[in-house]
């Protein structure tokens, strides 16, 4: 009995100690920062801005909520040099909070919004990437302040980051700019690629039409292109990513001029692409790929990671892939190890029977930042603009790459390099990732110098030069449909029902579960209309006209 009590008493004592220490162990950035006189911090690589005459005497506290570039790396430490520079040069005490991605991020923002506790500057987050929709919801609630007045306070950033009128119009409501639409991640970064070593072995040419694609896919499936003596390859591989058959097969419907879900080819054509009489022809071609068994049969259910494991296993020879997922050294290495003699090359947009040729739809969804009404009411707008302008100018290298000479150097060609730097200090090292967490959210704007640094050239196991930039440039040079306006289209009230009918119907036609003929296609369209397709098209068209996006 005594020992029982003794344990309990000791436990309570320990508990009280833990309780006393259970608050945040670290002080805030402001508290943790050593006084400049005691321990001077290293000067930033580039000269910083002169304090403007309007700099208020008291530091302004700015809290920023943004997603991380590398979620696993965590936030920068409290003694991050950038905090010191921002405080000393801009008179701003910055608190940087990393918010979660996806549904958790959406819940995080929505909870704070519902409690009217949105922070000063924050990223609008929606699990389905409808960031504009997330912003509009907050604007409707009166929680977000207009930012028109801030743009003149950050002229350089406006030039490099907020220079796209279309993106700006997407974050404009009732004539006021409410969002800071950051440049989208590299646009048009995905494309069609083919195994050149397989083509060479079978003495085939790169396909240029759907029919040629089918023929090459058949050869890849039936003629043992990897020479292992087994019938274990497919011509084509893929997975469904998005509505209908997904954007990864847009290169097929694009050959009939109908990529994506909406027809943006001309204002008079605007509507769902399935309305177009050529759409069943495109589907019939897709069906022929399935019927001929030249596509990896798991494509309807395959997940992205499994798909990527499969091309690295050499299962298929034609696919649609993100340039970085394919060519970045770390992503390419497993494939290179398995098949050192193999080579993927980009394929140009296929030309359809009527001469149509589209690679895909470019939707240009990027990050959107907003200033809370609370921050605006507290007079923090000018300080926020000062911070953002600094990130785009004097703070650009510090926030995107680290300190010059320590984490990066500028070589004789003007390129960013890590040559001669200690491995763990290079900006690209895992250890350095916490220090550049804002780079994909608020820093990078896709300049050539930046892209070169982000996607460096390297040598494969066999000494072949791999240039990710070449793939990117090729993909970007293809004919894409500008579908950025799609962000202004609100989802249907019964979107779940509509999407299910749309997706399943399309899949049934392609898999042969439902016969594809005029009658069944008309039934399919009638089914969509019964779920509100026609009304949705009308409202979408009106929304685009209202936003000035359908001209």
């Amino acid at each position: 009995m005594k020992s029982w009590k003794m344990i309990l008493v000791v436990f309570v004592l320990v508990l009280s100690q833990i309780l006393a220490a259970c608050g945040a162990p670290a002080a805030t950035a402001t508290e943790a920062a050593p006084p400049a006189t005691e321990e001077p911090t290293e000067a930033p690589a580039e000269p910083t801005v002169e304090p403007s005459p309007t700099t208020p005497p008291e530091p302004v506290d700015i809290e920023l909520w943004a997603q991380a570039t590398v979620t696993e790396a965590g936030a920068p430490p409290d003694d991050w040099i950038a905090y010191d520079v921002i405080r000393e040069e801009l008179n701003i005490n910055l608190t940087y909070v990393i918010i979660p991605t996806g549904e958790d991020g959406e819940a995080f923002i929505n909870t704070a919004a519902a409690a009217n506790e949105l922070t000063d500057l924050f990223q609008a987050v929606k699990a389905n990437n409808d960031n504009r929709g997330a912003l509009k919801q907050l604007v409707d609630l009166g929680l977000v302040a207009p930012v028109d007045d801030l743009l003149p306070l950050m002229p350089e950033r406006t030039k490099t980051h907020y220079n796209d009128p279309l993106l700006n119009s997407l974050v404009t409501f009732d004539g006021k700019l409410y969002g800071l639409a950051e440049p989208p991640p590299l646009p048009r970064r995905e494309g069609l690629v083919i195994r050149k070593d397989w083509l060479d072995k079978l003495e085939l040419e790169v396909p240029t039409t759907p029919e040629e694609l089918l023929a090459v896919a058949q050869a890849f499936t039936e003629q043992d292109p990897d020479g292992n003596g087994k019938n274990d390859t497919y011509g084509l591989g893929g997975f469904i990513n998005g509505e209908g058959l997904g954007n990864r097969f847009d290169f097929i419907t694009g050959a009939w001029g109908l990529p994506g879900v909406w027809d943006f080819s001309a204002p008079e054509n605007f509507g769902l692409v399935v309305r177009n009489e050529k759409y069943p022809e495109a589907l019939a071609f897709f069906k022929s790929l399935v019927d001929e068994k030249v596509i990896d049969p798991d494509w309807p259910t395959l997940k992205r990671d499994d798909f990527r494991a499969r091309w690295k296993q050499g299962l298929f020879g034609i696919m649609w892939e993100d340039f970085a997922a394919l060519t970045n050294k770390s992503n390419y290495e497993p494939f290179d190890t398995n098949f050192p003699d193999a080579e993927w090359i980009p394929v140009a947009s296929l030309t359809g029977p009527q001469g149509d040729s589209y690679y895909g739809v470019y939707t240009g969804r990027g990050n959107i930042f907003a200033v809370s009404q609370t921050a605006a009411d507290a007079g923090k707008g000018e300080a926020i603009a000062r911070l953002l302008e600094w990130i785009a100018t004097d703070g650009y290298f510090l926030m995107g790459f680290g300190e010059e000479g320590k984490n990066y150097i500028i070589d004789e060609n003007g390129d960013i390099s890590t040559e001669g730097l200690p491995e763990t200090e290079a900006y690209s090292a895992p250890e350095r990732q916490p220090f550049t967490q804002m780079r994909n959210q608020l820093v990078f704007y896709n300049s050539e110098q930046e892209i070169k640094a982000r996607y460096p050239t390297y040598e494969t196991i066999n000494g072949r030069t791999m240039e990710p930039m070449k793939f990117l440039q090729f993909f970007q040079s293809q004919p894409w449909t500008d579908g950025r306006a799609v962000q202004a289209i609100l989802p249907l009230a019964n979107a779940a029902d509509f999407d299910r009918f749309y997706d399943e119907g399309m899949l049934q036609f392609v898999l042969g579960q439902k016969e594809l003929n005029e009658e069944t296609w008309a039934e399919y369209l009638a089914g969509l209309d019964a779920l509100g397709a026609a009304d949705w098209e009308a409202s979408a068209k009106q929304a685009l006209i209202d936003a000035g996006l359908l001209k």
Binding site: M1, W4, K5, L8, F11, L15, I18, L19, C22, G23, A24, P25, A26, A68, T69, V70, T71, E72, A73, G74, A75, V97, I98, P100, T101, G102, D104, A107, F108, T111, A112, A114, A115, E117, P185, R304, D305, A309, K312, Q313, D322, A324, A325, N328, S330, N331, P334, F335, T337, N338, S428, P430, E431, Q433, N440, R454, Y455, P456
Partner: protein, 292 residues
């Protein structure tokens, strides 16, 4: 007749054994696959996928090295341990008196208190009021933000109350006759007899706090305070979005291996605790369920 009955019993036993073996396999096969996936080398995974068996020379702990060697791992593990221990302790400290009070039949206003307790079980206040309460109490970036809201589980209180009600009333009465007040009765008589329920309910709380994921995201904005499940999720998100994050694909394991290793890492501590208190488990949850 007797022979037939014996034969029936044997068939029943065989049938039962087959059935239980099947159930065991249904549980073990996915678990085995998780283990193989966690230990599979990247080159084999990218070449062959996940086989059912790996030869002993092929096993690699690379995924574990990557997760356990992550610079934030020790801190996240510490946070999880503190949240779990502190949360379990606070929960038990709050649950025991409540359950004991409610188990006392002559407690004035017992019905009203019980109604109020059950009311919170049936009607949750929802996320926003709790968020306002936590931020109003300035508890953001404090472990208590994660610990206090779920500190008293009504379900666990009722289970514990039921256990207390099952203890012989005579023992309490004897202590009262010796001059003990209710606190002394609880301390000197009830608690020493309640090891099974304390361990059982403690385990319930510990598992809950160990796995707690969303509230840390909501209230612990300082990434130094985030617990293990959040870190593991962040690592997996990074690994699955590596095409957008140009030079961060540092993984020497496949995403699937990382996921599987993450599952095992988070599961193991609880897996070790269960057998230790298993003998109390049934007793703790069932005693008091049936009254004489």
């Amino acid at each position: 007749m007797l022979h037939s009955r014996t034969r029936d019993a044997v068939f029943f036993q065989i049938g039962l054994a087959v059935f239980l073996t099947l159930i065991l396999l249904i549980i073990l096969i996915p678990f085995w696959r998780v283990i193989v996936t966690a230990f599979i080398p990247l080159d084999i995974y990218t070449r062959d996928g996940v086989p059912f068996f790996l030869s002993p020379t092929q096993w690699t702990a690379e995924a574990f090295k990557q997760l356990l060697g992550h610079s934030l791992f020790p801190r996240a593990m510490w946070n999880s341990v503190v949240i779990t221990l502190l949360g379990t302790a606070i929960s038990l400290i709050l649950t025991v008196p409540l359950a004991y009070g409610l188990s006392t039949r002559n407690l004035p206003g017992r019905k009203l208190i019980m109604t109020l307790v059950l009311f919170t079980y049936l009607f949750s206040p929802g996320l926003i009021p709790v968020y306002l309460l936590i931020t109003g109490m300035k508890l953001t970036n404090n472990y208590l933000a994660v610990i206090l809201p779920p500190a008293v589980s009504v379900y666990n209180t009722l289970v514990m109350m039921s256990f207390f009600e099952g203890l012989p009333e005579d023992l309490k009465e004897a202590a009262r006759l010796d001059g003990a007040n209710e606190l002394q009765v609880l301390w000197n008589v009830i608690l020493p007899l309640s090891k099974p329920i304390l361990l059982t309910i403690g385990l319930f709380y510990a598992v809950y706090f160990w796995n707690e994921f969303f509230t840390p995201i909501l209230y612990l904005k300082d990434s130094d305070l985030l617990p293990l499940p959040v870190l593991l999720r962040n690592i997996l998100i990074s690994a699955s979005f590596n095409e957008y994050v140009e030079y961060d694909a540092f993984s020497t394991s496949s995403l699937e291996s990382l996921k599987a290793a993450g599952v095992l890492i988070t599961m193991l501590p609880m897996l070790f605790i269960y057998p230790w208190i298993q003998r109390y488990f049934t007793k703790g949850t069932l005693v008091g369920g049936v009254k004489e």
